[in-house]
Symmetry: C2
Subunit: 423 residues, 2 copies
């Protein structure tokens, strides 16, 4: 069986590599036409998609999946409409491929610059949500890449139905069907093959829980665009504007609990702590947020109904829940030291009106997104103006932070000469 | 013993990580001052350096190293002067760190842009040449990184003497000594530790022969900026200017045989082959270049004294010698197909006066450098205007092509707000 899977995946890889060459040459009009055709087909076949989704949901219920999982798996009318609109938004984005920049003449007379090109073949590994199939396919098509999609086994019927519509759109626009392939087996060996086929896959984008990503990091031979977790900080400086501090610290924690850009640790300057913490506690109390404080903050917060002691582990925990670690620091230096030690290098913010501290925080905090006087919840491809997001990277090589179309591209050097030779 | 090496390397890694934080904050003046001090110390201690080099050379002779290796190991007066001048050239380059670009207001009122930051800790693994110690240290200092240098065991005395001067310069400029560390053991286990310490090392730049790189690719857990080989092509189109074709095809092969940007395979359009090949053969003949041709080119080249039959293996061989593979192709499509199949994605060039073909070649050839009417020998950091080069990358993620200061940096997002929260 596993041998067959390997052969099956190699075949998919070879087809993807071949399709990627055609996609790299495809002009903007053809790529946009494919996206429009897919959007139209999704609207036209909404009933079929819902029926496929019902099959998945029935199997999921039979397998006893949690309500949260069933919720993520459900393809509502709104989700179907959003998928189609998402594709139309990608159409509206400028085509990144072929863009030439920085063409400069050198003393030898050659002209040197860079051209933006696709990465080649992108493997996407994701869990329940079927909309990722269409979102990821759309971004990969627009950026001239071929893609291999490996969705969760729970969504297999829905993903296959969507894949059919994607292929219809590609064919209608004269692009190779194999530019988007959905792995049609739920065998886990398929993932193992996908992340080790370095000759056919250029990059893997995993989207899912920490367990999935950790396993992939251990086993993958193909480079990944990924983040493991989001342990995001807000530091309230003693030169902070109190209202901004309250607004942002509340929003960063309570706007949504389950997202990777949610604040998990609040750092407060000692000089302002007795003023700001009680006011913040009132806001958190209304949302029943549990506070896990160090000794000093617990003194200030005494009487807060959901107050616990923070232990060492709390500083490196991503709660994804109405829980917040709280720590008093002497000053910004201690805050930066704490962040650079415990942060997952995702997103960290300072609240201050002090110019020099703001500039130093921006420079010295070593995270993918560093903010002044703004909620960490803004760390998002759409909010940053990238148009759409294939994932978020906490790594430093290649793309960092929210990854949009450009993160799926690379730059090659182009040299224009008139017969020059090296002396 | 190996356990001790591991502890020794972990200690180096921890020091480097700590130093990298200080280097990331260091201002341009301090970094430039360190470089100037190192340059002055190298000139001052030229005698000491030569003495250390004599120790290495004596040991190398005793170990029976080849003349070529001895030549690469020798630190001549000129090499010493060039090292010092190289540092001064790096001083003259603009500091890439802290540069903020693309700050744009979003509809929410936040301003989003990117800041250039160091990668962190760079591991450099190289063979004989001692000048790499100083060149690499200079580039890493200027780009705000800490670096761990692991040179060849043949050059250990010279590298240690150079490291002492580098540390003197760092200290003199108020920068941490540990920003540049030379691994002081020749035990191979040190390399094994260096390429797997993902918590302390952010990227490895290997510089050496194919054997070294292949071994590192297999074992490294840390991402690498590297190229394995340079199988570079020149395609002479039937719309080529004959003189440009002769100049470039001669220069690309014969300017230097041992470099990675040297042409290894020549592709010639059928329609022009009978005209251009005999003229080229005259030039190659003077340099005693062996030609390995396909059946068709051998007919045209009949009588050339160093003519052999090209076998399949020749199309993917990097000769690094006065040997050239030659193949006749029907047209540019066949040339591109051949290049995208056999090229090592290093550097490939077309010679043509046809505008549409030139543009298509640039877009469709999937290599780090793609050229029109210029010698492949131009693929080089200095020739491209990067100022200096730490290596060349054939990979698509992160840096591609010649890698200068910018390739040792990353971009993080910076967000400037006025108290904005996510709605």
């Amino acid at each position: 069986m596993t041998l067959n899977i390997e052969q099956y995946m190699t075949d998919i890889g070879q087809r993807a590599r071949k399709a990627s060459r055609a996609m790299a040459k495809a002009d903007s009009a053809a790529k946009n036409r494919a996206l429009m055709l897919i959007a139209a087909a999704i609207r036209r076949d909404a009933d079929t998609l819902r029926a496929a989704n019902q099959q998945d949901l029935a199997a999921a219920r039979a397998n006893g999946l949690s309500d949260a999982m069933l919720d993520r798996l459900t393809l509502s009318d709104k989700a179907i409409a959003t998928m189609a609109e998402g594709l139309e938004q990608i159409v509206a984005l400028p085509d990144p491929i072929g863009e030439i920049s920085n063409m400069k003449y050198r003393p030898t007379g050659i002209q040197v610059g860079q051209m933006r090109v696709p990465l080649g073949v992108i493997g996407i590994i994701y869990e329940a949500r079927p909309n990722v199939t269409v979102d990821a396919a759309g971004l990969c098509i627009k950026s001239g890449n071929a893609t291999i999609l490996r969705g969760g086994s729970e969504a297999i019927h829905c993903n296959q139905a969507l894949a059919k519509l994607v292929k219809e759109g590609l064919t209608g626009a004269g692009l190779p069907q194999d530019a988007v392939q959905v792995v049609e087996t739920t065998d886990r060996a398929a993932v193992g093959a996908l992340i080790t086929m370095t000759e056919y896959v250029d990059v893997i984008v995993p989207r899912g829980g920490k367990g999935l990503i950790e396993r992939l990091i251990k086993e993958s031979k193909v480079p990944m665009i990924k983040h493991l977790d989001g342990i995001c900080h807000v530091y309230i400086d003693d030169k902070a504007d109190l209202q901004k501090a309250l607004d942002i610290a509340f929003n960063a924690k309570c706007h949504r609990y389950g997202t990777c850009n949610t604040m998990e640790t609040l750092l407060v300057a000692r000089a302002i702590a007795a003023d700001v913490l009680p006011k913040l506690a009132e806001l958190y109390r209304a949302k029943e947020v549990e506070l896990r404080g160090d000794a000093e903050s617990r003194q200030i917060l005494a009487g807060y109904p959901l107050l616990k002691e923070a232990v060492e582990e709390d500083w490196s925990t991503e709660y994804l829940a109405p829980i917040l670690a709280v720590k008093i620091v002497a000053d910004m230096d201690e805050a930066i030291e704490h962040i650079n030690t415990y942060s997952s290098q995702h997103t960290d913010a300072i609240i201050t009106e002090d110019y020099t501290r703001a500039m130093r925080f921006l420079r010295e905090v070593d995270s993918a997104s560093v903010m002044v006087n703004a909620s960490t919840r803004f760390a998002d491809g759409f909010e940053y103006g990238l148009g759409a997001e294939i994932g978020i990277s906490n790594d430093k090589l290649h793309a960092r932070g929210p990854v949009g179309l450009e993160g799926l591209t690379s730059l090659k050097y182009v040299v224009l000469g008139q017969g020059q030779v090296r002396q």
